[in-house]
């Protein structure tokens, strides 16, 4: 039977190539994703090994509690260590050197006046003048190291990007002190790479200056320690730990080895990387799912076409099992082949993927490609298994072909169809239930995503199994206008689509999946954007809003400057922090006490605004109820620097306007308990004595002088936020495109097979006078029916999915919106793409030789 299988495959190279392509694309995406994230992981590992070069151990404060993840990092939460600790450490046995270190906010203003702010953070650090300094991660490559308080050195990329020269001036902006002029004395290479730590901008100052400008007077972030000769990293760490215990400091401070520090830092970045990996893999899986439909279809059609041949094999004594194995064997060959092609393609496409992400503002550092065994094994297995599993149902059908079929035309088995529809309905219901459970069941993030994904998977298969019921009516409705005008090609196209509704439906289903996801995303995006705009407009009366140009918060100096220059304005700063309330670690929004004058949060009567100015909390109503808190209650909390008590000064009923979502608002009067003071946003409401123009000038100048800040009025702030959101959205659309492309490959494949199957009929049509053009139009018509059917089905399901998801988060203040124009555009594009997919098979049909076609078997 193997020989029969292989012969069959070789005889149909075209079909083989197309169906392989559908799986290979999905596998390529998967392999590419793995290689990309592994490569990045490798880059990060190397980077942090380099950046901790020479550091054998560090001493630092203990993390008061784990942050909730996302908005606040561990480093932002960890309190500083007192400078005096350096001397303590230096006296420990086994310590060769110990130096305080810190990494703080320092934004470099380029020589053109523009802040050097990308999406990477901007750091300042101390530079010890000695060449045997503990941290050996940097080396001067131009000029010299800073020695005086007004001197600065930059990493070489910043030096070049900013257009600086040795001896020239540079302006650097900080958080707690006003922007300052420095003299550039040199440039250095950090971590052995020009990109530095993931593209961060670095400025080096003398240690004392670094402490002064970065809010660490008398303090350091941590102490870096070099071991004496013959002392290993672990021995040094253990010595340091013992010393801390002996001095009674072990409750507040800890020591880890340099290697541990490097691993920790790499892991923190890599945990973001794994989110990114998962994000991309989801699209790869969607692509494979669509590819599975194409494979299923191809095998169903070829089994149907070879039904006489199979009947003959059976009549000659082949068992059903042997026939089954022959079909599965064929799919195994296709699966192996496409997986191998896919892996090679995926590795080759990594630069393309990087370029694509860079095009959407996600700049990733490059490095030698890391091709892990896992990548090869997983991609290969997934591709092969998906292909083989997709062929199981057609193989089973082939095995059931009775020998008598060799002698007569096969008739459809309506009982099997009914059973199929029942199964389809059952799967659909099960899928819908799982999906709804995921949406409304209150499961936690990861679990609910799994439920939603799994439910959608089953629901999709259910719909695909049920959709043949709709294929006929859909074909008739879609061709109705053309048929009314007496187009016989439209009539024939419609009949061709109807004659095998299962084939039409499963080809369309592949496209349906892509369109479902695209329309769902469009609905979600429109709902989010609409609600975002509405909430901001409804709750905020700010005239101007400052927001960071990148992802990182900015210096409070901007707000300070505006306050000074517009004394009658209300200037509100917002910060994000993490505290512990009881045993829960929660995010808090830090806000200037008078923020309720700009932002309406539905503060309930009885709130003590005056007291809030001296410190305290506002609590969101549901949270207050859950914790049994009322105005005037004192809450025991833990701040980063230790335990504290805060008073509830008010209860608010409205959601905070996006992007803020914590259920607690802490008065900025209490913010001195946090190690950093960076603003994530500043709102300005001008006073009656100032014109909008004056206010705008002040706000824009403050933003420009501090740097790295966008200053907008409310309307353009909303536009900017939406534009940022749209960029991510477009990336999602582009990634979903792959699923659509694979579905189009499926359309090409199905139609090519159908054309092949109907060779004689096409010959007849041509003989009795159908022109090539009419023939091509007929085949394209069928492509149009399939794609329009799939697109419309996907549209409907996608909108319903979107609606359900919006309903599930309606408590977050998000309301359903239908982006009609956009959805229409998507459907039209999908149908046009389907028409294009119909061109190759149509040409193939047109090129058939009439005489050969009518005399073919």
């Amino acid at each position: 039977m193997w020989r029969v299988t292989l012969r069959g495959l070789v005889a149909k190279k075209f079909r083989l190539a197309l169906s392989s392509l559908s799986i290979a694309l999905g596998v390529a995406f998967m392999a590419g994703t793995f290689v990309l994230t592994d490569t990045l992981g490798g880059v990060f590992d190397g980077l942090f090994t380099n950046t901790t070069q020479g550091v054998d151990a560090v001493v630092r404060s203990k993390l008061p509690y784990e942050p909730t993840g996302g908005q606040v990092s561990r480093d932002q939460l960890r309190p500083p260590v007192p400078e005096s600790l350096v001397d303590v450490v230096r006296d420990v046995d086994g310590v060769a050197r110990a130096e305080g270190s810190l990494l703080g906010y320092a934004l470099v203003i380029g020589s053109d006046g523009e802040a050097l702010q990308g999406q990477a953070p901007t750091f300042g650090l101390p530079w010890y003048p000695r060449s045997d300094t503990v941290n050996q991660s940097s080396e001067i490559v131009k000029g010299r190291a800073p020695r005086a308080p007004d001197e600065v050195a930059f990493d070489i990329r910043t030096f070049e990007d900013g257009g600086f020269r040795v001896g020239g001036p540079a302006r650097v902006s900080f958080q707690t002190v006003p922007p300052r002029e420095f003299r550039v004395v040199g440039a250095f290479l950090f971590g052995g790479s020009k990109d530095g730590p993931v593209g961060a901008t670095l400025s080096a100052f003398t240690p004392a200056t670094a402490q002064e400008v970065m809010n660490r007077v008398g303090q350091w972030d941590l102490i870096e320690v070099r071991a004496a000769d013959g002392v290993s990293q672990t021995e040094l760490r253990d010595d340091l730990r013992a010393a801390l215990r002996a001095d009674g400091l072990a409750a507040d401070f800890e020591s880890i080895t340099g290697q541990q520090l490097a691993d920790e830092q790499a892991d923190e970045l890599k945990s973001n990387l794994s989110i990114f990996n998962t994000f991309l893999l989801v699209f790869a899986l969607v692509a494979l799912f669509v590819g599975a439909f194409v494979i299923y279809n191809t095998f169903s059609i070829t089994v149907a076409q070879r039904i006489r041949e199979i009947g003959l094999l059976r009549a000659l004594g082949a068992t059903g099992r042997q026939v089954n194995r022959a079909v599965v064997g064929e799919s195994l060959v296709v699966g192996v082949l496409s997986s191998v092609i896919g892996i090679v393609l995926g590795i080759a496409l990594v630069p393309l993927l990087q370029g694509l992400l860079a095009g959407f503002g996600i700049d990733l550092p490059g490095g030698p490609l890391v091709i892990a065994t896992r990548t090869l094994v997983v991609s290969f297995l997934v591709g092969t298994v998906v292909t083989v599993v997709s062929s199981l149902a057609p193989a089973r059908r082939a095995a059931r072909v009775p020998p008598i079929t060799a002698l007569r035309d096969q008739a459809l088995d309506p009982a099997a169809n009914r059973r199929r529809y029942l199964w389809g309905a059952a799967l659909w219901v099960v899928g819908a239930v799982i999906l709804l459970a995921g949406l409304f069941g209150g499961a936690s993030g990861g679990d609910s995503a799994l439920l939603i994904g799994g439910g959608a998977f089953f629901a999709f298969i259910g719909v695909a199994m049920l959709s043949p019921l709709l294929a006929g009516p859909a074909a008739r409705v879609l061709t109705w206008p053309a048929r009314r005008r007496g187009r016989v090609t439209a009539r024939l196209a419609s009949e061709n689509a109807e004659r095998n509704p299962r084939r039409t439906a499963s080809t369309a289903s592949a496209l349906m999946i892509g369109l479902t996801l695209v329309s769902m995303v469009a609905v979600l995006a429109a709902s989010l954007k609409g609600s975002f705009t509405e909430t901001i407009r409804g709750q905020s009366s700010a005239d101007f809003v400052l927001s960071p140009k990148g992802f990182f918060p900015f210096s409070p100096a901007a707000a300070e400057q505006i306050r000074e220059e517009l004394p009658d304005a209300t200037v509100v700063e917002y910060r994000i922090g993490v505290i512990q309330v009881g045993n829960d670690t929660v995010n808090v929004l830090g806000a200037s006490p008078d923020f309720t004058e700009i932002t309406d949060i539905g503060l309930r009567p009885g709130a003590r605004r005056d007291a809030f100015a001296r410190g305290g909390l506002y609590v969101e109503a549901p949270e207050a109820e859950a914790r049994g808190l009322k105005v005037g209650d004192t809450v025991e909390v833990r701040f980063p620097d230790g335990p504290g008590r805060v008073t509830v000064q008010g209860i608010y009923a409205k959601e905070l306007p996006p992007p803020f979502d914590p259920p607690f608002v802490l008065s900025l009067a209490d913010w001195d308990r946090f190690p950093t003071a960076e603003d994530v946003s500043v709102s300005v409401l001008k006073g009656p004595g100032t014109t909008t123009r004056e206010a705008r000038r002040v706000v824009e100048r403050a933003a420009a002088e501090v740097g790295g800040i966008d200053a907008d009025d409310l309307a353009s702030f909303i536009d900017r936020q939406i534009a940022q959101f749209d960029q991510l959205l477009n990336l999602v659309y582009v990634l979903l495109m792959l699923a659509v492309v694979i579905a189009l490959v499926g359309i090409v494949n199905t139609l090519a097979l159908s054309v092949y199957e109907r060779t004689r009929e096409i010959g007849l049509l041509r003989a009795v006078g159908m022109t090539r053009r009419q023939l091509r139009r007929m085949v394209r018509g069928e492509a149009l029916i399939v794609s329009a059917f799939g697109a419309l089905l996907g549209l409907v399901i996608g909108v319903v999915f979107g609606f359900l998801i919006v309903q599930s988060v309606s408590s977050e203040g998000i309301t359903f919106a239908l982006p009609v124009v956009q959805l229409v555009v998507f459907v039209v594009l999908a149908v046009l793409a389907g028409l294009v997919a119909g061109i190759p098979p149509a040409r193939r049909a047109g090129r058939l030789d009439v005489l050969q076609a009518i005399t073919s078997e």
């Binding site: 007496g486 016989v488 009539r491 024939l492 009949e495 061709n496 109807e498 004659r499 004689r760 009929e761 007849l764 049509l765 041509r766 003989a767 009795v768 006078g769 159908m770 022109t771 090539r772 009419q774 009439v850 005489l851 009518i854």
Partner: protein, 258 residues
């Protein structure tokens, strides 16, 4: 250049002086090249007259189907000329040939004559539909009556018997009032009763509707329905018989076999 506008051979007399509906002039058809070349037609010249029912006979491999395909514009000749009426179809391009087939030629094949997705009636009017025209109801009615199909034409081919399917095919061949109907073994797949029916209809079409039919067959009974039989052997016309009977045809065939 040929005129592709269909003419009506019955009501509008052809301006041409010739009475041949289809004509082959010194036609050869060679498959392959050099030593392996096969001369399917080795210089055939023959006229098929208007209003005549002609049969082409010959042993397997004599070239009879090839001649029919060349006459009908389904195949290209290697040399020589083929005329349909006054139009030289051997000089036409693919598109012109298609339109000639659509408007001036009717076909009846041995099997797979019908588009399975269309009803009998739709199959019948297919050539007209492809031309964007609808059938003349009176003419259609007359054809349906002639082939005795009026009550079955709403059905699809798979709901019709083999004989009914061939009758639909004959009706389709008639619907556009073509200059010639070419039939390739039209009764080859039928039992003798259905076959006789079809042959009768075809003869009626010639006698009553003034059609011209050229039919390839190997069956002497089928040939006996024709007005004239042309015998082919080894790609050449070797004999001819007017007013054939079963016996006279069998007699000639036997002599060809010698």
């Amino acid at each position: 250049m040929s005129r592709i506008v269909p003419e009506d051979p019955v009501s509008v007399p052809s301006p041409s002086v010739t009475t041949a509906a289809a004509r082959a002039v010194d036609v050869t058809k060679v498959y392959g090249q050099g030593d392996t070349a096969v001369h399917a037609l080795a210089g055939v010249s023959v006229d098929f007259l208007r209003g005549q029912y002609a049969a082409i006979m010959g042993p397997s491999g004599s070239g009879k189907s090839t001649l029919l395909h060349c006459l009908a514009g389904l195949d290209r000749v290697s040399s020589g000329q083929v005329f349909l009426g006054d139009d030289e179809i051997s000089a036409m391009n693919e598109k012109e040939l298609t339109l000639v087939r659509r408007d001036k030629i009717g076909f009846v094949f041995q099997a797979y004559n019908l588009v399975p997705t269309l009803t009998g009636l739709e199959n019948i009017s297919l050539p007209l539909a492809l031309a964007g025209r609808s059938p003349d109801p009176e003419w259609l009615d007359r054809i349906l009556t002639t082939v005795n199909l009026a009550d079955r034409v709403g059905h699809r081919p798979n709901e019709l018997s083999g004989g009914q399917q061939q009758r639909v095919a004959v009706a389709r061949a008639l619907v556009s009032r073509p200059e010639v109907i070419f039939a390739d073994e039209p009764t080859g797949n039928l039992d003798s009763r259905s076959g006789a029916e079809i042959l009768g209809f075809m003869r009626d079409a010639v006698r009553e509707l003034g059609q011209t039919i050229v039919m390839v067959t190997h069956d002497p009974v089928a040939a006996s329905y024709a007005d004239r039989v042309v015998f082919l052997a080894d790609g050449k016309i070797v004999d001819e018989l007017a007013g054939p009977t079963v016996d006279s045809v069998m007699d000639r065939m036997r002599r060809l076999g010698d």
